[in-house]
């Protein structure tokens, strides 16, 4: 047991253990500092600090000024956002029934498989107002989305409030740090990549209206146990709400409520283990959309649920990089009745319907009952940081940045017998060769392979392998070695299995040009 000197700066409680657990540990500074004690109230120097924002910007990020120095507990306003511009064009191929037809260019391109460069033209404006204790956050976003955005059409995502919440972060209670958040927001968990993300995203993302609370308890320096739990709800969108031009958005009439809990342990701030669990209940309140069009008989689907359990392991070892692996298990029952409270699962799916369609079987063969398992793994490293070791490399120089990801999955059980036992994988690798402070070359390879089932013209269901790969090369312009703004031009070559590109009268594009730009401020 370590010893601590009792003093007016350090004190150890003699209360019982439970009290000690929350109140002991870090010393408590006295409120009134005298003379030259660090922190004594002194007027700030002329021309020095416009008061720093309550939350520092990311390393290398930028923070706006906030006028004259003020009390750190005073409320401050911080504004941020992002602008993304993006377009993609596919070079068509002549259909078999018109071999001499002129080659058409397609936008969006006729391609399938993962989009190697983010697709989405959007602008978001984020407001953060608060101090160290209380923070109010709102994000307003306008997006022009089309099928090229991760493969999904989201016409209803016009200008909208993407998130609005209030977060309370009390001062540390001994070793315990608490955080509470209430409002409308999204949460992501289980990503194997750094910064809470990765090439294939998190294995669990939750959004809706609700609240979440978290506790971090420091057992030793760098060893932190964490607990987080919350509830989010996505209410029903009435069936008659057509959202302008009806888009076929099939979650009308459905709702979902998600309960989730997370337990974590980090050692030395290098090794991270987290257990995630979420349970989403879906309620089907439809009266009309589930009618059988041929007979007008009402065939209401029963309510359903989806359970997700993920075990996240991540390891950061400088200078070798960051490695993460997250085995995940999904258990679903009538998951078609779920709205998108769990809005990202495997492969950017949104809600029970897409998880069912992609991994358990199409309608009407599967109603979303089955089990799915996956392992998402990713390794990120900087070649220059490896070579420069033991001298640290901060990113301001030539570098080759790499990310390698692999994600196999298995459909363990399904109410569609054709999908039972099916398996597949996603694979991805991205490299950025940073040649100067304003110029990089980029290289990306993505692939996806899975068992898929389609019906032939006679209605017989055929099973084969669906496969789509792409290899891309591009150039990127940026304003500094590590600036977050960039403009990128990329060429992609796609490769498909014959089963994937199986319509000779409408062949998929193989050559695609992408032009994108993003600024985060």
């Amino acid at each position: 047991m370590k010893t601590t000197t009792k003093s007016r700066y350090h004190r150890r409680s003699t209360w019982p253990l439970l009290v000690y657990l929350t109140c002991s540990g870090p010393v408590w500074a006295e409120d009134t500092a005298a003379d030259s004690v660090p922190g004594a109230a002194r007027p700030p120097g002329v021309g020095l600090s416009p008061e720093a924002p309550p939350t520092p910007p990311p390393i290398g990020g930028r923070a706006p000024s906030f006028g004259a120095p003020s009390d750190p507990d005073a409320f401050a306003l911080r504004i941020g956002g992002r602008v993304s511009a993006w377009t993609r064009v596919g070079v068509g191929r002549s259909p078999s029934d018109r071999p001499n037809a002129p080659v058409a260019w397609h936008t969006p391109p006729l391609v399938v498989g993962k989009n190697p460069l983010y697709g989405g033209t959007a602008a978001s404006l984020n407001f953060l107002y608060g101090n160290q204790l209380l923070m109010a956050y709102a994000s307003y976003e306008a997006a022009l989305t089309a099928p090229e955005w991760e493969g999904y059409h989201r016409a209803e995502l016009g200008p909208r409030v993407r998130a609005a919440y209030v977060a309370l972060t009390p001062p540390p209670l001994g070793r315990a740090r608490l955080r509470f958040q209430v409002g409308a927001f999204s949460l992501s968990y289980g990503a194997p990549g750094p910064w809470g993300w990765g090439l294939f995203g998190p294995v669990l993302a939750i959004h809706g209206y609700g609240g979440v609370g978290g506790l971090d308890y420091e057992l030793a320096p760098g060893t932190v146990a964490s607990l987080e739990a919350g509830t989010s709800a996505v209410p029903e969108v009435p069936e008659g709400f057509a959202r302008g031009t009806y888009t076929g958005w099939p979650e009308n009439g459905l709702s979902s409520i998600v309960h989730h809990a997370h337990l974590g342990l980090s050692l030395k701030n290098k090794y991270f283990t987290k257990l995630h669990f979420a349970h989403a209940d879906g309620r089907n309140m439809r009266r009309y959309l589930d009618d059988n069009e041929k007979t007008l008989e009402v065939e209401r689907r029963p309510d359903g649920y989806m359970q997700v359990a993920a075990l996240e392991f991540r390891w950061m070892e400088d200078p070798f990089g960051h490695f993460g692996v997250t085995p995940t298990f999904w258990n679903m029952k009538n998951a078609r009745s779920l709205h998108d409270g769990i809005y990202w699962g495997l492969d950017w799916t949104a809600g029970g319907r897409e998880m069912t369609d992609k991994f358990l079987g199409p309608r009407p063969f599967s109603q979303g009952t089955g089990q799915l398992a996956a392992i998402s793994a990713e390794y990120n490293f900087s070649v220059k940081r490896l070579l420069a070791h033991p001298k640290p490399f901060d990113g301001n120089g030539h570098d080759l940045r790499a990310a390698l990801a692999f994600l196999p999955f298995w459909t363990l059980d399904s109410d569609d017998a054709k999908y039972k036992g099916a398996s597949g994988y996603f694979v991805g690798a991205t490299f950025e060769h940073v040649l100067s402070s304003w110029f990089s070359t980029t290289w990306r390879v993505f692939g996806e392979s899975r068992r898929a089932v389609v019906a032939d013209p006679l209605g017989a269901r055929q099973t084969s392998t669906w496969r789509a790969f792409s290899a891309s090369a591009g150039i990127a312009l940026h304003s500094d070695w590590q600036s977050q703004d960039r403009l990128e031009l990329m060429y992609s070559r796609y490769f498909y299995s014959s089963f994937t590109d199986n319509n000779p009268t409408r062949p998929l594009d193989r050559d695609v040009l992408t032009l994108g730009a993003s600024v985060v401020f």
């Binding site: 030259s36 020095l48 057992l219 701030n269």
Partner: protein
């Protein structure tokens, strides 16, 4: 069975009672006034507002003074809070602000690592950083080292000796 339970309880109690020493102690403060008086004053001016009067840490800023402060690797940031939460593109671009796979800051292994980080990133405000000189940062680094009970060379740590002063 009872013995095992008591053993487990004892282990938990031992773990829980191992005090974390955050914030500068009386003894180390007295040493700091002798060894790094300029750093003491600069800390009060530039750092205490966010990190606490004794560097014990506050809600949004970690402990920076004390024997257990300044761990080798930084505490992981919560991806679900802050301006980039829930925005895939913003998170992807944010990751570009560091070399791929690198921690949010370089590991603190020597005084040179600490100086490198503090002089590049603190205070968070760019204008405030611009007003700081290398001498200011070395004074702060010396004070932070003394607060950990580290022995610093006479005359303080400088750019010539920093790499040899281990954490």
């Amino acid at each position: 069975m009872l013995g095992k339970s008591l053993l487990l309880l004892g282990a938990c109690a031992t773990l829980a009672c191992s005090g974390l020493r955050y914030g500068i102690s009386d003894a180390d403060l007295a040493r700091a006034r002798e060894a790094a008086p300029r750093g003491v004053a600069l800390f009060a001016e530039q750092c205490a507002r966010c990190h606490g009067q004794h560097g014990e840490g506050r809600s949004s800023a970690p402990p920076v003074l004390g024997r257990d402060a300044l761990p080798e690797y930084p505490r992981e940031q919560n991806p679900n809070s802050g301006l980039t939460a829930g925005d895939p593109e913003a998170l992807r671009l944010k990751a570009r602000s560091r070399p791929a796979g690198a921690p949010a800051r370089d590991p603190f292994r020597t005084a040179a690592d600490l100086y490198g980080y503090v002089s590049r990133s603190m205070p968070p405000d760019e204008d405030a950083r611009a007003a700081m000189t290398a001498d200011h940062y070395w004074a702060l680094v010396n004070f932070m080292l003394v607060s950990r009970g580290a022995s610093v060379p006479s005359g303080g740590v400088t750019d010539k000796s920093a790499a040899s002063v281990k954490f």
